[in-house]
């Protein structure tokens, strides 16, 4: 098998693993999207904060750029500090919930995928691959969350999907 074919096979496996996880965390992304809709509303300025998050996640190669962005926004904007009585964690702000998900949850999920795909944890190449997987998971989650936010905010409908 050629190197190109091996790379293609590997990339397909990563895509499949990330898609599988995306099914698992979809409900959590919807909950956070709803939380965002209740906290932000649908004004143009607030929408741009959510799309700004998506842009950062899609353009950076560093997971920590996304974490720092979430922290910065949470420190700066009242909406990111809003708690949500309807969420499972009524004392946690939107920013804190999002950060917990992106940092905590996805580190474990990325490690699980890496292990299943035979990616080690010692060389720089291994570590680069692990963080690449982590970044892919975050991008999918943020996309799902922003779609739900747009949907809920556009219709003024922040009820959970049926």
């Amino acid at each position: 098998m050629s190197t190109d074919q091996k790379t293609l096979d590997y990339d397909m496996k990563v895509t499949r693993e990330v898609s599988r996880q995306a099914e698992v965390f979809y409900d959590e992304a919807v909950k956070l999207g709803d939380h965002a809709a209740r906290a932000f509303g649908g004004s143009k300025e607030h929408r741009s904060q959510m799309t700004g998050l998506e842009t950062i996640a899609n353009s950076t190669f560093k997971t920590t750029d996304v974490f720092d962005y979430v922290k910065k926004q949470t420190a700066r904007h009242r909406e990111w500090q809003q708690t949500d009585a309807q969420s499972g964690a009524p004392n946690e702000s939107f920013g804190e919930r999002l950060l917990k998900q992106l940092q905590g949850e996805f580190t474990g999920k990325a490690d699980g995928i890496a292990k299943r795909l035979g990616v080690g944890n010692t060389t720089d190449e291994d570590k680069q691959e692990r963080r690449h997987i982590h970044l892919l998971l975050m991008r999918v989650f943020i996309r799902q969350m922003v779609v739900q936010y747009e949907y809920a905010a556009s219709f003024g409908n922040t009820r959970r999907r049926g």
């Binding site: 560093k62 920590t64 720092d68 910065k72 500090q81 570590k127 963080r131």
Partner: protein, 147 residues
Amino acid sequence: MLTTAQERKISLLSDTILYDEAVTLMRRISPLPTSQIMGLLNNTRVSSYGQLYAYIIHQRDRNWQDSKQGTKVFYTELEKVLSQMRKKRAIEEFRLLTPGLNSQQANLEADEVMAALSREFIQHLVAENNLRAELQRAQAPAQRNRR
């Protein structure tokens, strides 16, 4: 100028080591008001490592009022982290410097590497600081109301 391999390595270190260390440092000390820390962040964007380091030393050694001793502690801790990184970690742990350079070339390269490393570290530090400062500020009225 840093090589692509050095830039890639610094980016990896930022995610795997520097971020956690910045968060850990901020958990040990009190956050500074956002306004006091933005000067530091701006310095990482426009200064050489030498200028940045001089700024940190200057802030550390200023005669701070008692109410602002937290700022002195912050810059004291930051200086320790960066000088340790410059003297030892960049070479032995991170392996970022090119072997076989003469001392002038090695110093120049070390300064460039440190400028990039400190930019990453301070970006994480400032993000964590500002989040903690804001959460603390938000909690303060609630605590006052409970008294």
